[in-house]
Symmetry: C2
Subunit: 433 residues, 2 copies
C-alpha cells in the first residue's frame, strides 16, 4: 500500500491550497456497472478530494465484457482477466460487482495481499462480512462497506469501529428505497401498485431483479449485514422469510392514515439476552416514529443501544452517484490510516434459531364477500377469536381495517385462518409497531 | 504511542473470547469533573470494550484539587501539577476540562509529543479546532472530539474524515438539550418558563453557568465547531449574536402549534458561494421538519450536501454517562489506527463578514395594551408596513400571533419598531423556517 506523495499544482485548486502535497491514490475497480462507472466519473471531477489532499486515480478495472460501451472516462487498463487485474498495483480496490461470487474470491485475494478493499456489495458483506473483516485485520488492512446500507449516510463505519455505540439491542430500519418509494406513491397518489412500480422502474430505481426489492430480499441482506456489524453474529437467512410489499394497496395506506399511522417497508431485529428475533416486511408505524416521515426513496435507521439510548440516522439510500461519493469517502479513509496492530476479533457466532418477534399490534384488512358488518359486529367477531380491536376504519369498498392489540404471530395466524374459514372473510395482516 | 499487547484471561469474557490478545490502553485524564469521573467509572466496567479487544486503564489524572471527593474508582496517580502529569506515559489522553485555557496549552503539548487526544471540550474545539487538527496531522497523531456536539451520535468523526459527505451547503441543528427540554416542557405542560427551568436544574441538565444554555452561547460554540469540521473556516463569533430562549412562553408554543409548527432552539448556517450566513436562536419549524420531532433533551442535525443531499442524525446530546461512552469509543479509535502520512491540511480561512441570513418567515407575537384587534384589522395594519400575514392566531389574553411571509431581518426589524411605536403594540419576532 505505497501511496505516492507528489508536488502538484492544479490551477483551480491553487487558490485553496497552493503547491501543497497532494497524495495520489491508485484505485482498481472490480466491476464497471452503474456504480463502477459513477466512481470512475466522480473521482477526477470531485475538486473536494483535491482540497482534502487526495488525487484519486482509477488505474484499472476488471469487467466481464471489455468491449461494452460505458459512460465514464477511458481507463488506462481494463481487462476481463482476473489474474491480470490482480497483478496491478493498487492503493485501494473498489469492488462493485453485486453477487457473492466471484466477488468473495477476489476480495479475499486482495485482503490477503494486504490491499484495502472498499465494497458496495451488500450480498457479499451480508453473507461473509465477519470472515472478510477478520481476514483484513489479520493482514493489518481494512475492508470498508459504508455504501452497503443507507448508501449516503455515514454510520456503518462508526458502528464497526466504535464498540460502545454499537452495543445495540434493537434496530428498526427502512433500508429499501424502492419499496419505500412505491408505498409513498400509494399513499400520496392513491394509485394502483403496478402504476407505482412503473414509476419506480421509469426512474431507474428498481434493481435488475425487482424481486430483490419488492419481496424484501434486499432488505433481508441489509438486516443480516447490520446484525453482523453490531456483533450479533450471522442471521440464519433461511429462517428470516422476508415479506414483500406486493399485497399492499392504496386503501391499506389510507386506512393506516386514518389510524394516524403509515405503512413502511421495515427491517426489524431485537436481542433479548442471547436470543435474537427479526422480521422483514411492511409495518404500520405511528406518525410520531421518525421512520414514518421518510418519504420517497429515503432510508433511515433507528437504534436502541445500551450505552447511548436511541439514535436515528436517515438520508438517501441508493443511486449510483451517491453510492460513488460514499465509496470515494471510503477510499480516502482507507489510505488515511492503517490499523496499528492485530486486534483480537471476537469469533463470529451464528444466531440460531431466530426466536419469534415479541407480540406487536397488527393492522388487519378484512374483506367481505358481500355485506360489510358494522364496527360493533366486527369487534364481537374478532373478540371471539381473542383479537381485540382498538380501532376500526370506515369501510372502503368491501373492506374494513382493524387495529388489534399486541399479540404474537403464532396466535394471530390460526385465529385469522379460523375467521377466514368460518365467515368467508379474507384477512390480510400487517404488523403495527 | 506504545500500546501493550498481552495475554489476558478474564473469566466473564472467556466464553466470548477465550485467551485472546487483549490490548491494554493507558489513558490519562485531564479534568475529573462529572464527565471525567464517568469515564473513570465506565472504562473498567464496560465489558463490551474487552469483547472488542481493549482493556482501557485510566492510569492518571490532572485535576485542580487533589483532595476533592469524587465518585469514581481510585486512580494510581492523581496530581494538580501539569508538568508531573505530562511526564506520564499514555496511549491516549482524554481532556474534559471545559474552558479554552489551560486546555489549549495542555492539548498542544500532548499532540506535539505525538500523543492522541480525545476531547469533550467544545469551547476549545470551537475556538481552536483547525489549529489543533493541523498540529495533530503534522505529528502524525489525532485529536478526536465526537462528544463535543450531539454527544451520543457518532457523526463528527465521519464528517472530519470523509471529504465528500462533509461538503455541506446548509445545516440546521438542535444542539442544546437544555433549551430543547425547556421548550418541550412549555409546549407539553403549558407551564411558566421558570418552572420549566427549575425542572431542568433539578435533573442536572443545566451547565454550571445556565446562561451558556439559555442564551445560545453553547449552541453558538457548537455551530462554530460544526462550521470548522465541514471546512467552512472560523465563524466570526462576535458577529453571530446568538438569541436565547428566555423571552418565550407556553402561549408562543401553543400559537405555533395552531399553525402546525413547533419552536425549537436552532443553530443554522448556510453557504452561498463563498459567503456564509448563520443564526442561533429559537425558530418555528413545520411539524414535517425532522427537527420538530426532537422532544426533551434530544439533539439532531440536518445537513444538505453537494454529493449526498439531505442527511439527518439525532440522539442524546449530553449527559456524563453518554459523553463518557462516546469518549471511550474515541479512545478505541485513537489506538486502533494511525495516520499513514502527513496529508496537506487546507489553510483555515476566517469567514468574515457573516452575511445576513436569507429571508425567512417569522412568527410574530403582538401584545396589545388594551383592545385586541380582529384578524382583518391586524392584517391591514401589518400590510401597511409590508409585513404580509399568512396566518393569524386566536387571541390568548392580550396577544395574537401572526405568521408572516418571508422577509429579511433588516427589513423586519424597522417595520416592527414602527408598528410598536405608532400603535403601542409590543411585538416579538421568532424566525419561522
Amino acid at each position: 500500500m505505497s501511496a505516492v506523495l507528489e508536488r502538484d499544482v492544479v490551477s483551480p485548486i491553487a487558490a485553496v491550497q497552493p503547491k501543497s502535497a497532494v497524495r495520489t491514490v491508485r484505485v482498481g475497480l472490480v466491476g464497471l456497472g452503474r456504480v463502477g462507472q459513477a466512481v470512475a466519473r466522480l473521482a477526477p471531477e470531485a475538486q473536494r478530494l483535491r482540497v482534502a489532499g487526495y488525487r484519486v486515480r482509477v488505474v484499472g478495472a476488471l469487467v466481464r465484457d471489455v468491449s461494452k460501451r460505458r459512460r465514464c472516462p477511458r481507463l488506462a487498463r481494463i481487462t476481463s482477466n482476473a489474474a491480470a487485474f490482480l497483478r496491478g498495483d493498487y492503493d485501494v480496490v473498489v469492488e462493485a460487482l453485486g453477487t457473492v461470487q466471484p466477488a468473495r474470491s477476489i476480495v479475499s485475494r486482495l485482503l490477503g495481499r494486504g490491499i484495502p478493499v472498499v465494497t458496495a456489495n451488500k450480498e457479499l458483506v451480508a453473507a461473509h462480512g465477519p470472515e472478510l473483516v477478520a481476514l483484513a485485520k489479520q493482514r493489518r488492512t481494512t475492508i470498508r462497506y459504508e455504501a452497503c446500507a443507507l448508501a449516503g449516510v455515514p454510520f456503518l463505519g462508526a458502528l464497526a469501529a466504535r464498540p460502545l455505540v454499537s452495543d445495540v439491542n434493537e434496530l428498526t430500519a427502512v433500508v429499501n428505497g424502492t419499496s419505500n418509494f412505491i408505498l409513498s406513491k400509494l399513499e400520496a397518489e392513491q394509485c394502483a401498485f403496478d402504476a407505482a412500480l412503473e414509476q419506480a422502474q421509469a426512474l431507474g430505481l428498481t434493481e435488475p431483479d425487482s424481486s430483490r426489492d419488492l419481496d424484501g430480499i434486499d432488505a433481508a441482506d441489509k438486516l443480516a449485514l447490520l446484525a453482523s456489524v453490531i456483533g450479533w453474529g450471522t442471521l440464519p437467512r433461511h429462517q428470516l422469510r422476508p415479506q414483500g410489499i406486493r399485497a399492499l394497496t392504496a386503501a391499506d395506506l389510507a386506512a393506516a392514515r386514518s389510524f394516524d399511522r403509515t405503512i413502511k417497508p421495515v427491517a426489524f431485529a431485537t436481542r433479548i439476552g442471547t436470543a435474537v428475533s427479526a422480521f422483514v416486511g411492511p409495518a404500520a408505524l405511528p406518525l410520531s416514529n421518525p421512520l414514518a416521515s421518510l418519504h420517497g426513496t429515503l432510508n433511515g435507521i433507528r437504534l436502541h443501544g445500551t450505552f447511548v439510548g436511541d439514535l436515528f440516522f436517515s438520508g438517501p439510500g441508493a443511486g449510483p452517484d451517491i453510492t460513488a461519493a460514499t465509496i470515494l469517502d471510503d477510499v480516502v479513509e482507507s489510505v488515511a490510516t492503517t490499523p496499528t496492530a492485530r486486534v483480537a476479533t471476537p469469533p463470529v457466532t451464528p444466531i440460531s434459531p431466530l426466536v419469534a418477534p415479541p407480540p406487536t399490534g397488527w393492522l388487519i384488512r378484512a374483506t367481505f364477500p358481500g355485506f360489510v358488518p358494522d364496527a360493533a359486529a366486527l369487534t364481537r367477531l374478532f373478540d371471539a377469536h381473542d383479537l381485540h380491536a382498538t380501532r376500526i376504519s370506515e369501510p372502503i369498498d368491501r373492506s374494513r381495517w382493524l387495529l388489534v392489540a399486541p399479540i404474537g404471530h403464532e396466535a394471530l395466524s390460526p385465529a385469522l385462518a379460523c375467521i377466514d374459514a368460518t365467515h368467508r372473510i379474507q384477512t390480510h395482516a400487517i404488523r403495527s409497531l
